[in-house]
Subunit: 154 residues, 2 copies
Amino acid sequence: MDDVDDEVSFRRATQRDVDTVVSLLADDELGRVREQPGDPAYHAAFAETDADPNQLLVVAERAGEVVGTLQLSLLAGLSHLGTKRAQLEAVRVRSDLRGLGIGKRMCEWAISVARQRGAGQIRLTSDRGREDAHRFYERLGFRVTHVGMKMALD
Amino acid sequence: MDDVDDEVSFRRATQRDVDTVVSLLADDELGRVREQPGDPAYHAAFAETDADPNQLLVVAERAGEVVGTLQLSLLAGLSHLGTKRAQLEAVRVRSDLRGLGIGKRMCEWAISVARQRGAGQIRLTSDRGREDAHRFYERLGFRVTHVGMKMALD
């Protein structure tokens, strides 16, 4: 168990993974209140995500089971000499498997894919209150540089 | 001058706007050091941005002149019941025209486009030190909810 690197593999999520991915999103303090596993909206959202070549929704597997998920987006733009940016979000590890290094392995994988896809920067936002998550990402090399602001649209 | 709403119009940027957009990005304390107007990399980055139907690079015009720019990205995903998110960035108003309400008009336009395109949330990140910008976005209805983290990739 001291090296999960060889045990975890990654693949693009398929429509058949949607329920599992949603259960991972819901298996979390914040996710519990905002997700509704079983809602058909998730399948429509999956189809739209999957159709976008700059969106990569991924599942991590270990011993034939899905143990985590993440989404990596690639964003072209002119800023910073036209640097392509990768954006990491919806990173979740199955709650009974946390603390084993699976999340670290997943993020390192995402960073390597971002590089392969030509990104010169990777970024993420993390809920203000999730200080453990901030430390986790700092250990991976991320630095807090920005504030993240949101507004719900009706 | 008390109402710029009717004076400012918006259109998708074209290859011919690239130099103007770059000059707007560079016309700023942080942009000055990180942009290099005239570099051919911007034209390649424009082509990639423009080819992505979920990226909208926009110029704002007033009296036939480009006075501002912004980029709006649309991101599908499963989180929050499959809510599509809009992301606003690279918002710049020509420095000699700041304080007239053009930036507010541009952001309100971006919010309305995000709604039209089916986004249930709009978000942005703003450099930690830009407190004036945070207040500006708070007045538009944004709330600071997250920290924004980055890492450069070699």
